[in-house]
């Protein structure tokens, strides 16, 4: 169970927060995450 939890936590995802404190999470494979994650990968490769 611990391994499964850890694996779930390590999945790529995007979390969006509104001004009122609400949060929406989009997991790897969702259309929303697929739009943002490539940009994140690009930025993480900056040296």
């Amino acid at each position: 169970m611990l391994v499964r939890r850890r694996a779930a936590r390590r999945r790529e995802h995007v979390d969006l927060y509104g001004a009122e404190g609400s949060m929406q999470s989009y997991g790897e494979g969702s259309p929303e995450a697929e739009r943002l994650l490539p940009i994140a990968h690009e930025l993480l490769s900056l040296s």
Binding site: R9, V14, L16, Q24, Y26, I39, A40, H41, L46, S47
Partner: protein, 133 residues
Amino acid sequence: MLARMDAAQAIGDLTEISPQVLHVVAVGADGSVLGSNLEDEVAAGRLADGAARLVEAAEAMRPGVQQLEAATLDGSVFVVLDAGRTIAATTTPEPTVGLVFYDLKTCLRSIDQPVEPAPKSRAPRKKAGDPAA
């Protein structure tokens, strides 16, 4: 006269207290780079541009987004918007999300924040019976 905190100093303080944070760029309301810890100006500009693209894509999905985290297995990208300005940072994998958001907001707000200069030392009060008074 009021002094203003230097962006480079604020970012230096941020990376010192938050070792999870790797690269940072602060962007003004006009889109200009206020400061970054990336030595290469082109790289700083790319981080600023990427942050703008993340916000634009996020806005299309969720209008009114104020902050975001894009988490990958290689690390995360955080973007925080505040009063028209933006701060973006890359971090090590599995960062402490709440702490990073807090530190980024604090950093962004400290840039341009008027800082009162240290009060000048007053001359010692003269004693009532002092003949020089």
